[in-house]
């Protein structure tokens, strides 16, 4: 499938793998009037089957591993995976627990990391922009 289809509105599916909600409420804040990411066509959808981007938070609790894999498989190609928050990036404060299987890049491939505990809404928007830049590069390669 062509990456060109990706250029317009990015639809995002939010997946919580055991996060504390700090990142999750900031993601919601990004979508609400103050930051209003919807003006760029970024929209939160209710099913991974509709999504272009997987927004993953949390350090991946063992119980969630099969579900994360399943949701990754359910998302149609081409897709991007964006990790929001420190614990998804490298375990954060929860590293060394008996209950974790993460970080996320040990389970599914990740394209963009947004560090911060939690990242500010501006940082999350910046992360989405970086994802776009990456896609544009990929699209150019595809053409060439």
């Amino acid at each position: 499938m062509s990456l060109k289809a990706f250029k317009r509105a990015l639809w995002v599916y939010h997946l919580n793998t055991g996060s504390c909600n700090g990142c999750d409420i900031e993601i919601l804040a990004v979508l609400t009037p103050r930051y209003d990411a919807e003006r760029f066509g970024i929209k939160l959808v209710g099913s991974p089957r509709h999504a272009d981007v997987l927004l993953v938070t949390g350090p991946v609790v063992k119980q969630m591993v099969p579900r994360v894999e399943r949701i990754y498989e359910q998302t149609p190609d081409p897709k991007l995976v964006m990790v929001v928050g420190n614990c998804g990036t490298e375990g954060g404060v929860f590293y060394e627990s008996y209950s974790l299987a993460g970080p996320i890049d040990q389970i599914i491939p990740v394209d963009v990391y947004v560090p911060g505990c939690p990242p500010r809404p501006e940082a999350i928007i910046h992360g989405v922009v970086m994802a776009w830049v990456k896609l544009e590069k990929l699209a150019k390669q595809e053409v060439a």
């Binding site: 504390c20 099969p66 579900r67 939690p118």
Partner: protein, 414 residues
Amino acid sequence: MIQEETKKATYTIPVGPIHPALKEPIRLALTVDGEEIVDVDVFVGQVHRGIEWLGMNRNNPIQSIYLAERICGICNICHPFSFVMAVEQATGITPPPRAEYIRTITAEMERIHSHLLWAGVAAHEIGFDTIFYLAWRVREEIMDLIEYVTGNRVTKAMFQIGGVRRDITEEQFPRIRQSLDYYKSIFAQLKKVFLDDITIRMRTRNVGILKREDALKLLTVGPSGRASGVPKDVRQDQPYAGYADLDIKAITPDIVTGTVVGDVYDRIIVRLLEVKQSIEIIEQCLEKMPPGPILAQPKTAVLLKTLTKAEGEGVGRAEAPRGEVVHYVRMEAGQSTLATWKVRAPTYVNLMAVPTILKGMQIADVPITFASLDPCMSCTNRVVITDRAAGRKSVMDYEELHRLSVEKTKEMQR
């Protein structure tokens, strides 16, 4: 037997020490007869990160404050609050009065932000997105104030054993009052939107009733309990920090309507009035704020040494936006980590009320009823339906799904 069964594999809650909120994984199994729910089973553990174990095995008590903060991204004042109170009780450290007041102010700011967040989510659950956006826009004002006072929007890192890490100075008071005045000016409007709107009233009146007796038996706490007429509020009953100097009264819905129904509407009333109460508490705290230091022991290395030597146990109890948070801490001399750490978050007990409030409801009422306890089940569209009478499965039921996932995990481990 003509009976239909719905199994629902959805998303929400718990954490080692559990936590409620937005978009967290939880699983409910609903058994339905037609549209009516006849039984509910709650499965938790999808967010269990073993926080207490980390506090007992890896961190020293000061590091554990930051771990406590990350139990929940929404109640991240209340958890460190009750954690430091427990440690202070165990070690005999007394925080200076000014620190107690600053703690109170930040805790009330958190309550305002959390209740507004909930109001938005609740509106979203009944499909009223205009109000969702309205509530979240209004909420940004308190987020700005929190950032102004503590330096961060979400994880505030205000707490230290024996005090707070940041002062609130006289110069900051006008800015704080400005935000409070903003909320006071729009409060009447918010009240009208949430309590007089016919759509909200239709969807919430007589939905998800939790009777007073059930609330007492199932140990329901916080606004959910108070909406059922249980006037239990730690700030009133066993006041801690700055609350001990104020005369706080637990808010029950009969203040507005004259009766207690214990339904979702009553829970909206309680949370809305608590926003107003919080504003008043912050104002009183600003007025009465005593001068003095903000830390009992400003040198972290000395504090850490005291903590390592300390022996004892303590219980910290704080009223979080969702109810009572309890931390129990036991310390042993010569041990750098905590000997025992037990956390009880409000949703831990509130979840036990889920079967009671959902029974007899329709499937369409599940989101708002469940959200009214203030955990959040956002992924209601991920429902798996099985028809027991016909033996037909439209999607896989959980057991099958789980068996497959266990098999796959095992396969991948090879």
